[in-house]
């Protein structure tokens, strides 16, 4: 049976792993390559490295981090943050990434998705969506934010996910800005709304704090994979323990691995 995936995320700023709350208030959490290896050995099904600063000066630092990480990691490895062009994606693939995650640049020019997919295959292109709850009257919708959650785009997350799939995305990485770093559970409503709208895998992100949150997002949210950062780096929840708990709850897991 195809398992649900547990993905360890490394948010990297200037070559170091950092952890923030609701996309700000950053704290140092260690060396990316070392942490990626630790997570891989502990049972993570994939590792995602997101360059959250991605300024021009830091690109070479990032590529070096990608190279060092990829050398030792024999599970799927995704890199995102600041990928604005096919050339940016190519540099990251050359450094050893298996997939790239595109976000703001794809919102500005959705053809970027197809251009990367055409050269590297759809399986190598993840469209990352940062979504924010918007209440209006008695209704609820999910707005898409660009540039690290800062800018409103006028798009809805569900519609954008569908468009990304049509454009050639192989997976959706869906982050709830409301839940980011809060450790009070994933946004299952958001996740389910996007899962129901597309036929490609959806990775839920934002809000992981305990094993029960993962059960919820796999069952109620119907996510294909769930991503977390701080609870793994800080050793709050060892990945192996989490996977065993999920397996006991009837969620198919790669365990032992």
């Amino acid at each position: 049976m195809l398992t649900k995936r547990i993905i360890a995320c490394l948010d990297v700023n200037a070559g170091r792993v950092v952890k923030g709350v609701q996309f700000s208030d950053l704290r140092d959490a260690g060396d990316p390559a070392a942490l990626a290896l630790t997570h891989g050995r502990a049972g993570a099904d994939e590792v995602v490295l997101l360059d959250i600063s991605a300024t021009y000066e830091q690109r070479s630092t990032l590529l070096d981090v990608v190279r060092r990480t990829a050398r030792q990691l024999f599970i799927p490895f995704t890199v995102g943050g600041g990928i604005r062009s096919l050339d940016d994606a190519a540099a990251v693939f050359d450094a050893g990434a298996d997939k790239v995650a595109v976000n703001s640049a794809a919102l500005a020019d959705p053809t970027l998705i197809g251009r990367i997919a055409h050269r590297y295959g759809s399986q190598a292109v993840i469209v990352a969506i940062d979504a924010l709850r918007v209440s209006h009257g008695n209704g609820l919708s999910f707005g898409v934010r660009a540039t690290g959650g800062r800018d409103a785009t006028g798009r809805g997350a569900v519609e954008w996910a569908g468009e990304a799939e049509q454009s050639g995305a192989g997976e959706i990485l869906l982050t709830s800005i409301d839940r980011d770093g809060m450790r009070d559970g994933f946004d299952c409503e958001l996740t389910r709304a996007v899962v129901n709208a597309v036929n490609i895998p959806v990775i839920a992100s934002g809000g992981a704090g305990a094993a029960g949150h993962f059960v919820d997002v796999f069952r109620d949210g119907r996510a294909d994979a769930a991503l977390a950062a701080s609870i793994f780096h800080l050793g709050v929840t060892p990945i192996g323990d989490l996977k065993q708990e999920l397996q006991a709850a009837g969620i198919p897991m790669r365990w032992p691995c």
Partner: protein, 195 residues
């Protein structure tokens, strides 16, 4: 020396890194002379079956000659599908026809591509799978799949059964990515290296 055939179809460097990690010498090459001289050949690849057009001509001749000399050949993902007769993904093209059958799309009842970790169901003697746990988890990412054939030694279940591992003599094919399948994948690649 293990020749990793370069036909511009992704994941070449990760296959090379896995061999480096295991301590076996390999080279990424599109040189038919080098391929013809190799002790083993890997046909890697991800993406569309159309990418295999880059294999036709001198590269294909070099691979076929090596197979005639009983050099072990391992096809990975698209590389494995190319070892079958054809694929509905690009019906105008022919594969090597080393294994019978045509690759086809997943049924609409399941999400496609098939992405993630799934279990092998091992059946039949296999040198490639020697020592691997019976239901090992390996990493897949593909939209087309190869049918079950006489050479199938490992099946996988996703919208029906398909060939995850084929093996006949010195010919080997895996639909998943051993270079991305953790210790199970490295174990399999090590078995290939030690043939």
């Amino acid at each position: 020396m293990i020749a990793i055939v370069d036909y511009q179809a992704g994941n070449l460097a990760s296959v090379r890194k896995a061999f480096d990690h295991l301590g076996y010498e390999s080279a990424i090459t599109a040189d038919p002379v080098e391929i013809a001289r190799a002790s083993k050949i890997v046909l890697p690849g991800v993406g569309n079956f159309e990418a295999t057009t880059a294999l036709s001509g001198p590269l294909q001749d070099a691979v076929v000659k090596a197979i005639d000399r009983q050099i072990p050949v391992l096809g990975i993902c698209l590389g494995m599908q190319w070892m079958f007769e054809s694929s509905r993904e690009a019906p105008q093209l022919r594969g090597l026809g080393l294994f019978a059958g045509e690759c086809e799309k997943f049924p609409v009842t399941v999400k496609s591509p098939h992405v993630g970790w799934n279990q092998l169901q091992v059946g039949g003697a296999s040198r490639l799978l020697r020592g691997l746990p019976e239901h090992a988890f390996v990493y897949f990412t593909h939209s087309y799949r190869a049918p079950l054939v006489a050479a199938t030694v490992g099946k996988c279940e996703y919208g029906g059964s398909f060939s995850a591992v084929v093996e006949r003599g010195d010919l080997f094919g895996v639909q998943f990515h051993p270079e991305k399948s953790g210790t199970a994948g490295l174990h399999l690649l090590c078995n290939f290296c030690e043939l």
